[in-house]
Amino acid sequence: MSEVEVADIVLLSLKVSAVAMLFAVPIAFAVAWVLARHEFWGKSLLQALVTLPLVMPPVVTGYFLLVLFGFSGFAGRAFRTVGLDFAFRWEGAALAAGVMAFPLLVRPMRLSIETLDRGLEEAAATLGAGRLMRLLTITLPLVMPGVIAGAVLGFAKALGEFGATITFVSNIPGETQTLSLAIYSLLQSPAGDRAMAMLIAISACLAIGSVLLSEWVGRHIGQRRRR
């Protein structure tokens, strides 16, 4: 495996993870908001559903994705009508990565929404700020550390996703073969020790970098408030 191929795998992984986060973060924020702020029938059900990818075997999650979003799946057919195809495509890998990272996104977001002093929003209301203005000037800036921390962790998780991805969209070089899948393939072939070492090193670096970034972002934003 050449260095160009290694670079392609890394780029594909970054693309899959980035797209996964692009869609998963706003949805996770909405879910975290609803869980933190509202009481409704079926709340514990939603809560369980959100946590499910964390505890269910990834292969099973991948299987459900295949059933739902595959060629003949109900959701898969619906999305195909708007020109979006998941089966055996990198879009499918992004979907799997997003679903698997979802619990990691929701948890810190929900926590930061719950710990936000609602009195601050009340104060903003008495000062004339409407609902949207309160969200933009008070709520979002104050929960941002939680959102960013969640997004970075989720990104790292998405980069390393394996089980659900290989079950749902298989292991197709150049299309769905992300970092973990490539390492797995190389492990099974006699040649390619050097490429495998590179991929493992890159994976580890990305993971460590993400965690450090997440910590740094949290500290930096926190510090501005304590200055």
Partner: protein, 364 residues
């Protein structure tokens, strides 16, 4: 300017049923914790919705359950100061102060420089809330409310979370705000001291209902509110004008309406200042004859207006000193020994040191 409030609300077991009106100046909602005063304030601000009632401020109907009117909090033009300041932690003091302008679309006529000077916070503009002291935070919160162009200012125990020293720091600023802005202020408190110093109108609350409301001075002199105000806090508010200052002894003479004089210890006042003094009932002693050679500096001729006599060891008496009410608490034993009765002329003795400087309020 006037505020008319009629509210009814049931929150679980707790029922609030309150009705009162307030004019210009400071209206104090006074009651012990759990009496519903903060809930009433939040209902005026629109942060809690009452089940029924009417809230009218300055001729504007803010809430009317029958007409279906319920103006959203941002549109009520009410400035609110919370017990815990509630400054926005991610914004500088300057951004906090001007929040009403840039986020609330309030075109305040109040001048930023004037308000920061009034509250002594001009030097804090670039700081962040976490670096401020409790007193500074509360002053910034007051400034932020004032700069949002309020028609009515609501204050929810703004001093409750501060220690004694910080309270003394803020009280003069509150008096400045009251006198300078001319805004009607609804002030929630469970501290008799603050109420005595700030209030023009007093609304007495207990268990969610109004025990009584009216002019603060009159309310303080009414015996039936003794239990609500607290036995040890029972006092009268007496007003007068500083007529002379004796710098050598650190005493100043206050001429009361009605021609009598009080001597008090104060280094803060100037001749001509209007003062409202709080005199606790237990600091007033009575004598049938004018006492000679006593250390007490204030001996005022008075007549007994009314008294509350029951089985308790104490008797609460309301005296008349030149048209103003003065409360006294003496033992039932002394009451019988002196043969106190209505319209009896007596001499009220008040130690000058009992009329502390802290209990004074300047009035323009």
């Amino acid at each position: 300017m006037s505020l008319a409030v009629r509210l009814h609300s049931r929150l679980g077991d707790f029922e609030i049923s309150a009705e009162f009106e307030a004019g210009a100046g400071v209206t104090a909602l006074f009651g012990h914790s759990g009496s519903g005063k903060t809930s009433i304030l939040k209902m005026i601000a629109g942060l809690i919705r009452p089940q029924s009632g009417v809230v009218r401020a300055d001729g504007r109907t803010l809430f009317d359950s029958e007409a279906g009117t319920d103006i959203a909090p941002p549109k009520r033009r009410i400035g609110m100061v919370f017990q815990d300041a509630r400054l926005f932690p991610h914004m500088s003091v300057a951004r906090n102060l001007t929040y009403g302008r840039w986020a609330g679309n309030r075109n305040s006529s109040a001048d930023l420089d004037r308000i920061t000077e009034l509250l002594g916070i001009g030097g804090l503009m670039d700081r962040y809330p976490a670096t401020l002291s409790g007193g500074e935070m509360q002053r910034v919160a007051i400034g932020r409310a004032l700069l949002a162009d309020p028609a009515l200012l609501l204050m929810d125990e703004p001093l409750a979370s501060l220690d004694q020293a910080r309270k003394r720091e803020i009280l003069p600023y509150l008096e400045e705000v009251r006198d300078e802005t001319g805004l009607p202020i609804v002030y929630v408190s469970h501290e008799v001291d603050e109420v005595a110093r700030l209030a023009d109108t007093l609304v007495l609350l207990s268990d969610g209902t109004v025990l009584g409301s009216g002019d603060a001075v009159e309310m303080f002199s009414k015996l039936e509110f003794g239990p609500a105000l607290g036995r040890h806090e029972a006092s009268s508010l007496v007003s007068g004008t500083v007529s002379a200052i004796d710098a050598q002894y650190g005493l100043c003479t206050v001429s009361l309406e009605g021609g009598q004089e009080l001597h008090i210890v104060s280094d803060r006042v100037r001749a001509g200042d209007r003062l409202r003094m709080r005199i606790k009932a237990r600091d007033v002693a009575l004598s049938l004859a004018a006492p000679q050679d006593v250390s007490v500096r204030n001996v005022l001729p008075a007549t007994v207006r009314s008294f509350a006599l029951d089985e308790s060891p104490f008797v609460e008496i309301v005296l008349d000193i030149g048209g103003q009410a003065l409360r006294a608490r003496i033992t039932r034993h002394a009451f019988d020994a002196l043969g106190i009765s209505t319209d009896l002329p007596v001499f009220a003795m008040i130690k000058s040191v009992a009329i502390g400087q802290r209990m004074l309020s300047g009035r323009k």
